[in-house]
């Protein structure tokens, strides 16, 4: 009777659930039903079935692995392998993938680096499914590379490259491209090895001819594959660097320049600061004009104002005679010091101190400072120039506190807490430059007044 009722109710619920299902969806698509919602099943449901056992077994495996009990996990995995026998599941992740992942992890941690065992396991895994073949190959190659077995990895990659099976999915296509790219990378490494041999032994001699030929063939193989992958949007720092190195060696500067500017400026690629850095370094290597260097760095400044190259940029701009560039230099160095990561960088502070000092002495472009300061005056004092920081900076680095005190003295006047504390301590410690600094700030106090005065019309903002 009861079961009959339950069935009837279940049928009723089915329809009810269907009609309301749209409104009762969880707000977040959860990978599993939240465990606190799983009720203790009734005695009937408790009947062990295959699927449940599988799930439980997997949970034990995960549990053991998360507690680093690799051996225990391995034992459970040997039970779990049985789940392959009835793998008719249409689930998103099927048991063979799980076995591959879990098995790899366990072997990485507990086989004491026995490569033979690992390789035979992976070879078995490769036969499990066509869908994952390329991925398994790629990961296998990674494992070999990380263990220093570069030749094995190369063989593996070439083998995987020659694999064909029906029509490739988009993901497989991507994986194949990666496999080719990594093979190209390994080709590049063997090329550079041979190049080094040739450079060491000189370029003449009969036996070197074969080395040279091999080197060129390596170049061709590497260049083809590397060129292919860097066309696709992505982060390819490693590949681009290698490819440019190849091109530069063979004197193809135009191609190299084109590759680098494509990598930096193609809008389909992510805004990778490294792309700009590579371009900058390339241009610098080849003695390009200052103007082009500045334009590259200007773009980098717009993208990542806190980049470390900004210090170089600022020095470059400060040296320039053009007013516009000096102005940009001030902007750059102010922007750098906005970031928490540069807060205690002596170099950056000394750049700013130097430039601000220059302007204060010349009393020529005070409006530049005023403009920069306007957007910062409400938070820089609390961010950079507190009493607490003065104490700490003084304790940790005298030169940092000196540079900061210069800036504080000019921007905030002689009554600024930071300046007062540091100059006081400096004078107490009888350091000469602090005494000079005190005099300097006292002398140029009108500068501060003019910067902070909102009604000063002589400085047009």
């Amino acid at each position: 009777m009861d079961t009959f009722l339950e069935e009837e109710e279940a049928a009723g619920k089915n329809s009810a659930a269907h009609t309301r299902s749209s409104t009762l969806l969880p707000g977040l698509h959860l990978p599993f039903l939240p465990p606190h919602l799983c009720q203790p099943a009734s005695s009937q449901e408790h009947k062990l079935n295959f699927k449940k056992s599988k799930e439980v077994c997997l949970r034990y495996i995960q549990d053991a692995m998360l507690q680093k009990q690799w051996k225990r996990a391995a034992e459970f995995l040997s039970f779990y392998v049985e789940s392959l026998e009835k793998d008719f599941s249409r689930e998103y992740v099927n048991p063979s993938e799980i076995i591959w992942r879990v098995g790899t992890e366990i072997l990485c941690h507990c086989s004491n680096g026995s490569m033979r065992e690992f390789n035979s396991f992976i070879e078995q895994m490769k036969t499990f499914g066509v869908k994952r073949y390329l991925k398994v190959c790629l990961e296998h190659a990674f494992h070999l590379l990380c263990n220093g077995l570069i030749d094995d990895a190369y063989q593996n990659l070439s083998l995987a490259e020659s694999w064909r099976y029906g029509e490739q999915t988009a993901i497989q296509d991507k994986e194949m491209k990666l496999i080719q790219a990594y093979r190209g990378l390994l080709d590049y490494y063997s090329w550079s090895k041979q190049k080094n041999i040739l450079l060491e032994h000189g370029l003449d001699g009969f036996e070197n001819l074969s080395v040279e030929q091999e080197m060129h063939s390596c170049f061709r193989k590497a260049a083809v594959n590397l060129k292919e992958i860097i066309k696709i949007p992505g982060v390819w720092d490693l590949f681009v660097k290698c490819y440019v190195d190849l091109l530069e060696f063979y004197g193809d500067y135009n191609e190299a320049h084109q590759v680098l500017s494509e990598y930096a400026y193609n809008s389909k690629f992510p805004a990778n600061p490294n792309a700009h850095v590579y371009l900058y370094q390339f241009l610098k290597r080849h003695g390009e004009s200052k103007k082009s260097l500045i334009s590259v760095l200007k773009i980098l400044h717009d993208l990542v104002p806190s980049h470390e190259l900004m210090i170089d940029f600022n020095t470059m701009l400060q040296k320039s005679r053009k007013r516009k560039r000096c102005r940009l230099g001030l902007e750059v160095i102010f922007a750098v010091l906005d970031y928490a990561g540069w807060k205690e960088n002596v170099k950056a502070w000394s750049c700013l101190a130097r430039q601000v000092k220059q302007i204060a002495i010349a009393e020529k472009h005070l409006d530049w400072i005023k403009q920069e300061w306007n957007s910062r005056k409400d938070w820089w004092p609390a961010f950079h120039f507190t009493h607490y920081l003065a104490k700490r900076n003084w304790k940790e680095s005298e030169s940092l506190s000196y540079e900061k005190a210069v800036v504080a003295g000019i921007l905030l006047g002689k009554d600024c807490k930071y300046f007062k504390y540091v100059s006081h301590q400096g004078c107490k410690a009888q350091v000469k430059r602090f005494r000079i600094l005190k005099k300097f700030v006292n002398k140029h106090n009108p500068v501060y007044l003019r910067i902070s005065d909102p009604s000063d019309s002589s400085l047009k903002p």
């Binding site: 698509h29 959860l30 465990p35 998103y92 992740v93 980049h307 470390e308 990561g341």
Partner: protein, 931 residues
């Protein structure tokens, strides 16, 4: 602020995610991700590669077998949270729900029924008052002239009783009388139009259900650790909520010894709402603590010096619940606040609130969730804003113009379909420009300088979305430790990663699971089954916060991990890291059998059986062999510590992640002492408030049964006979062969001496006031001498029981069942408010004597006081009638009168079989509906 020279290769796409989302149970294992040349600057003959994932990390070993309590138990009750059985149709979860793609059936009618029963005044108040003359409650025949205008309710009640008895019968029909009544009354009986009420209720149910599936109000966690000022010092502060409603904020000094030890009593603040989140950051040697409750956010300043009290600085009130509060690590007294209306504010204690954005829509694609989050970035004026679809960075100086996308749920980060941002966090202490983003599937480490492309991505495989995260930055050449925690499953995961400035980000070492709070259950002293169950419920409460502290002693470092539960308990565990690491064998439990030498267990390939040949029988057999080899472990797999509902088998070991051979580690003596102390504290607390140990039940079976209204006759000879028979059976130790059904046993009037002292409260209070010992009277009433009163009550119950026992054995049985609840209800009713006048005529209204306590009379008076009658939803006009009834039988045992609405209401619901079932069994505690 260096940027890595070379990043790991990755594809970059645009648009919606391509990869299908689904449960991927082992997705985080076995992948290296990509490889990169290690240290390219170094000249070496052989190029070396490093993987993105799979490197070696530091080893952190737990020192205890389970989490250990860190502060005394939260000294008040914990109301068990809502369980699905409360609001789901028969507590049934639809199978399809497992995939998260389909819904469940809400038991809407039951809840509506509960509403009518619990709030009859709101549901039927005015019409009840108007019509009470037209309802007759007695059993007597109606007089002729009254018959035209009056309905005899007793008959209807009987019908309902009969209906209940037949509950579950497929052939059941509503009796014509019931049908007629419900048709007649459905349209006008209700105070609130039924349709409107139903809409509201349904909406509320949906909200509750959504909260059960995923509750994001706790995001961020309500536990914070304020480290000591100097590096070497050992005393820090824990900030956490507590109290009955989790509305007290505690600042507790904690000494980091072997196990963290609370020192002194905490500084306490009482707040105006449940504390959802506690966030803290240290700026210039001072800690700023932000506290978020639904409609209020507050900020405290805590000087790092110990012994200086925290000072509250400012409170803001929001009209929409706030969903996020983060404290700036750059500038003192700055916080970021988000509300569910889609607004993001920069809150400065000095200059007030500045709204940066207001957009009820989500950023990148449409998602219903009103959840918003905001955090700080490397630039003190730039804030990150998040919703479920991604993160954006805004410049507070020009929020409209200056912004860029930091993270998008999409192909950019190689997300899965259905993936949503759960918790973003600024990792400034590890690296100034790094951010952590967790989703229900993965965790990402992002760098502001290269937005949209994750520096690191790893599938965390947690069962519930990680709502809490904590960062312990590692120094140079050390890995950063990230703790992820989930709420309902109490999962804790320790990850390590390194890089970000010179080298690219790498995940270091395998993830590690830490002990959840429930893990300590098996180490606690043995308990009686029902107490064990309560304990299990308490320990299984969802986690509400996460914090960690580092302690260094020479070469040995310890990481103390604190976990807060919704019940307000804080547990901690210690992990130690040895700087010199031996290639130790895998930590295994003692009784583990090692695999056969020379062969890895992985290669014990299964007996190859042809696939696809499986006829039914063969499958059976295979399953059998599977079970045999797989140990019989599956029995209690679904036994979840977090499911408090069924009291069926409380003894089952509650292990959410039970494994057949759990670590048999024994807790250390220090930990054992902690456990004992904690249990002592808990039981003491329970003794102080007995009602907490028992779920409240409220009998709503019937208003008055005929039996109760009948005139009691003289003691039945049958009784004596039955008693004799029973005694005899007990003496012999046998059973009673045949029991004559006790025919309607005439109840015996318990001959209780009713001392005349029990006057009505008002006059007794007045008298007391006149005599000058009003204070004592008040104490007496308000339950300071609760123990005494309980004794009195118990005495009364015992007498009543005895009296009933004389009457009918079965009655005594039921009464003992309800004993606890009734007792607690009475003892909890507190000081009944003065009633307007003497209800039951008494001879001499003297002040109530303290000892011996007059059994029952004040409580009965309280029962009959108009106040309490009103509380029970009895209309004023009817109270008189009721009192008359009760006055007649005042000395007899009184069932708690139940609201009349309960019956009528149940009739009026378009009923299916299940709705009436609630009446037949003691109800579970009502879910916290919004009413």
């Amino acid at each position: 602020m260096e940027f890595p020279d070379v990043l790991f290769p990755s594809y970059f796409g645009c648009g919606p995610p391509v990869e299908e989302g689904g449960p991927a149970p082992a997705a985080g294992w076995g992948e290296q991700g990509q490889v990169l040349e290690a240290d390219p600057g170094r000249c070496q003959t052989e190029t070396m590669f490093v993987p993105r994932r799979g490197g070696t990390g530091e080893s952190w070993e737990p020192t205890e077998a389970a989490a250990v309590p860190c502060v005394p138990p939260n000294a008040s009750c914990w109301i068990p949270s809502l369980v699905p059985q409360d609001i789901l149709y028969h507590g049934f979860l639809h199978r399809k729900l497992r995939g998260g793609r389909s819904g469940a059936a809400l038991d809407f009618a039951k809840q509506l029924g509960h509403f009518f029963v619990d709030h009859p005044e709101d549901a039927f108040g005015s019409l009840g008052r108007l019509l009470h003359r037209n309802f007759h409650l007695g059993n007597s025949k109606l007089r002729r002239q009254a018959r035209d205008t009056t309905i005899r309710m007793t008959a209807l009640m009987e019908e309902i009783d009969r209906l209940e008895a037949r509950h579950g019968c497929p052939r059941q029909h509503l009796s014509p009388r019931l049908r007629w009544f419900s048709h007649l009354c459905r349209d006008w009986l209700f105070e609130v139009p039924l349709g409107l009420l139903a809409d509201c209720l349904h909406e509320e149910l949906l909200l509750q259900w959504a909260g059960l599936l995923f509750d994001d109000s706790l995001t961020g966690g309500a536990l914070a650790w304020l480290p000591p000022e100097e590096v070497g010092a050992q005393t820090g502060r824990l900030v956490y909520p507590g109290g009955q409603a989790m509305n007290h904020l505690y600042f507790q000094d904690v000494v980091l010894e072997e196990l963290p030890l609370a020192q002194g009593s905490p500084v306490q603040f009482e707040l105006n709402g449940l504390i959802r989140q506690v966030a803290a950051a240290r700026v210039d040697g001072e800690d700023f603590v932000g506290v978020r409750s639904d409609y209020h956010c507050g900020v405290w300043r805590v000087p790092a010096r110990m012994g200086v009290a925290p000072t509250p600085l400012q409170v803001i009130h929001t009209s929409v619940p706030a969903s996020c509060l983060t404290v700036s690590p750059h500038l003192p007294g700055e916080l970021a606040v988000c509300t569910q209306s889609g607004s993001v504010y920069l809150w400065s204690v000095e200059s007030g609130l500045q709204r940066l954005r207001h957009d009820p829509q989500t950023m990148f694609f449409r998602d219903h969730s009103p959840w918003r989050w905001s955090d700080f970035t490397a630039h003190p004026r730039v804030l990150s804003c998040a919703d479920r679809t991604g993160l954006q960075c805004l410049d507070a100086r020009a929020p409209e113009r200056c912004h860029f996308d930091l993270f998008k749920v999409g192909e950019e980060a190689n997300c899965q379909q259905g993936e949503r941002v759960v918790l973003p966090m600024y990792l400034g202490r590890a690296h100034p420009s790094q951010h952590l983003v967790t989703t229900q599937f993965s965790m990402y480490v992002l760098d502001e300088r290269l937005p949209l492309v994750p520096m690191l991505k790893w599938a965390h495989m947690m069962k519930a979305p990680p709502l809490f995260a904590h960062l312990t930055p590692g120094g140079p050449r050390r890995s950063h430790k990230v703790l992820l925690g989930s709420s309902h499953t109490q999962e804790l995961l320790l990850l390590q990663y390194q890089g970000g400035s010179r080298s690219a980000c790498q995940l270091a070492g395998p993830p590690q699971k830490l002990h959840p709070i429930t893990s300590c259950l098996q180490h606690l002293p043995a308990q009686l089954p029902h107490q064990h169950h309560l304990l299990q419920q308490r320990l299984g409460a969802p986690a509400a916060g996460l914090a960690a502290a580092v302690k260094e002693e020479g070469l040995r470092e310890s990481l103390m991990v604190f976990q807060l539960s919704e019940a307000g308990d804080i547990f901690c565990q210690r992990l130690t890291h040895e700087t010199v690491q031996a290639p130790a064998p895998a930590r295994t439990s003692g009784d583990e059998t090692t695999a056969a030498p020379g062969s890895s267990p992985l290669f014990e390939a299964p007996a190859s059986s042809p696939l696809g040949l499986g006829c039914e029988e063969e499958e059976e057999e295979e399953e059998q062999t599977f079970y045999l080899s797989n140990l019989e472990v599956i029995v209690n797999e679904e036994e979840d510590a977090g499911t408090p509902a069924p009291l069926e088998e409380p003894e089952l070991p509650p292990q959410p992640c039970a494994s057949p051979r759990p670590c048999a580690a024994v807790s250390s003596p220090a930990a054992a002492l902690r456990y004992r102390r904690w249990m002592k504290g808990l039981s003491k607390m329970r003794r102080e408030s007995p009602r907490r140990s028992w779920p409240l039940t409220l009998s709503q079976k019937r208003l008055f049964t005929r039996k109760e209204l009948e005139v009691p006759a003289a003691p039945n000879p049958l009784h004596g006979q039955a008693r004799q028979q029973l005694r005899q059976a007990m003496g012999e130790g046998g059973g009673i062969p045949s029991w004559e059904p006790p025919q309607p046993p005439p109840p015996v009037l318990p001959q209780l001496a009713e001392p005349s002292g029990g006057a009505d409260p008002l006059s007794s209070r007045l008298t007391a006031a006149w005599c000058g010992d009003w204070g004592q009277w008040w104490e007496e009433r308000s339950g300071f001498n609760r123990a005494q009163r309980q004794r009195a009550l118990r005495e009364r119950r015992r007498r009543q029981k005895r009296a009933r026992g004389r009457r009918s054995l079965s009655a005594s049985f039921t009464s003992s069942l309800t004993y606890q609840s009734e007792l607690s209800e009475l003892s909890d009713s507190g000081p009944p408010l003065p009633s307007p006048g003497p209800l039951i005529p008494r001879d001499s209204p003297q002040p109530r004597q303290r000892s011996p306590p007059p059994p029952a009379s004040p409580e009965e008076a309280a029962l009959l006081s108009s106040q309490s009658l009103r509380c029970r939803g009895i209309p004023k006009e009817r109270r008189k009638t009721l009192r008359d009834y009760l006055a007649v039988w005042a000395e007899g045992p009184i069932e708690l009168p139940d609201p009349p609405g309960s019956q009528a209401s149940q009739l009026c619901i378009p009923s299916s079989q299940s709705q009436l079932s609630s009446a037949s069994q003691p109800r579970r505690k009502r879910p916290r509906m919004g009413f």
